[in-house]
Symmetry: C2
Subunit: 258 residues, 2 copies
Amino acid sequence: MEDKYAFAKTIIKEAGLLIKDRMKDSLAIEIKTQHDDLVTNVDQETQDFLIAKIKQAYPSDHMIAEEGGICHAITDGKVWVLDPIDGTVNFIVQKANFAIMMAYYENGVGKFGLIYDVMADQLFSGGGDFAVTLNDQALASYQDKPLDRSLIGCNAGMLSRNDYNLHQLIDQTLGVRVYGGAGICMTKVLRQQLIAYFSYIQPWDYAAAAIMGESLGYVLLTLEGKQPDFQSRQKVMFVPKSKLATIQSLLKTNENTQ
Amino acid sequence: MEDKYAFAKTIIKEAGLLIKDRMKDSLAIEIKTQHDDLVTNVDQETQDFLIAKIKQAYPSDHMIAEEGGICHAITDGKVWVLDPIDGTVNFIVQKANFAIMMAYYENGVGKFGLIYDVMADQLFSGGGDFAVTLNDQALASYQDKPLDRSLIGCNAGMLSRNDYNLHQLIDQTLGVRVYGGAGICMTKVLRQQLIAYFSYIQPWDYAAAAIMGESLGYVLLTLEGKQPDFQSRQKVMFVPKSKLATIQSLLKTNENTQ
């Protein structure tokens, strides 16, 4: 597993260099499902690069990947979960604040995850048997602090609609931040710059953070408190285990209709 | 004026070092007006440092400053506008994403502004007769692009309440970002990572960006389209001049009750 983890760290950095190189050229931008759901030629090329590298090194491994909807059951064998550019809108508009994400599972058990903030050159990696690190410096486990000394990260749409009565939770804190891109947001949870993150996302958006978070005292669950399905887009929360009950008590769910 | 501008750049960097040094110790945090309006001993000490330096070098200059509510009419003589730590909540919780801001006016005319993102070591400065730069590299003037290829920055409360029907504007764009701290947000406008910023802020929150923005094609106005008063907390927008009419047509104001 050490070799596979080292391999993943190598190719995610190579993919970062590829993206930086392609940023010199103009982007070909396409709309996927709606006007703010975009993909570029660089998303596809980066994913092709990662898949080719993995197929070459580990021909029998399976994939779940964003572009082209590459699916596989997370519980079946050796599975890589790939997001070539998480935060594509930030990538297009800001030319920063996007990430490459990779996660590796064996029979449904997360072995390691990686989130690479390309422009900041910050690689978050580890989980499973590996220490969780930021550029090879160990990250601390979640240290408890009160909600009223914390910030919440949230998807803009869920915030605007007050899904699950999130405003009630946010009102107990110092406020909410919206950064765009699940990967960037969840690295801020791992660094304890946000206490929790709420969004409506896909398996490749949450897999890497879920594995790393598990090692640092966090849990990734649906807003209903269930394990995510690794198949569809779901509303999820990434929260400290020790704060889960408190946070759930403030959310309005089917089980908790306060 | 060159000397005064160089002096400002020197003391804002010194103030940054002071803050970084004080971050090694635990903070004394106090609530100002409400639970999420906080001030620390470092805010006060940094302001005291800046004022002492200015008073020593320019004894007859006046001040407007955040802590202690130091007031002066912006139109009366030589006036420094100071915010020792903009984004105090980010400073406390994230230990990043806060800024020191300084602006200098003579008889109501902005001569230069400075926003220093301390932890990123990014100094935005200039305006008036000086080129606007990021760490001494010139920043480009606003280059027009359509709203549907742009991001909006907004204060969380105004977003949640849909003040001025901001959601109608946001829906025309690729989305909204909430970073906390007017200074950090407005530097993202100056870098063209956000097309515009909306917030409910004080003179020391907008003075520096207003001066720099003026040189790059932006304008800082109240949501009603008026000049801000430099005396009170107001709802303002920081937008490209060439996009002002379009943006105003999408906002619901007293003058524009669509």
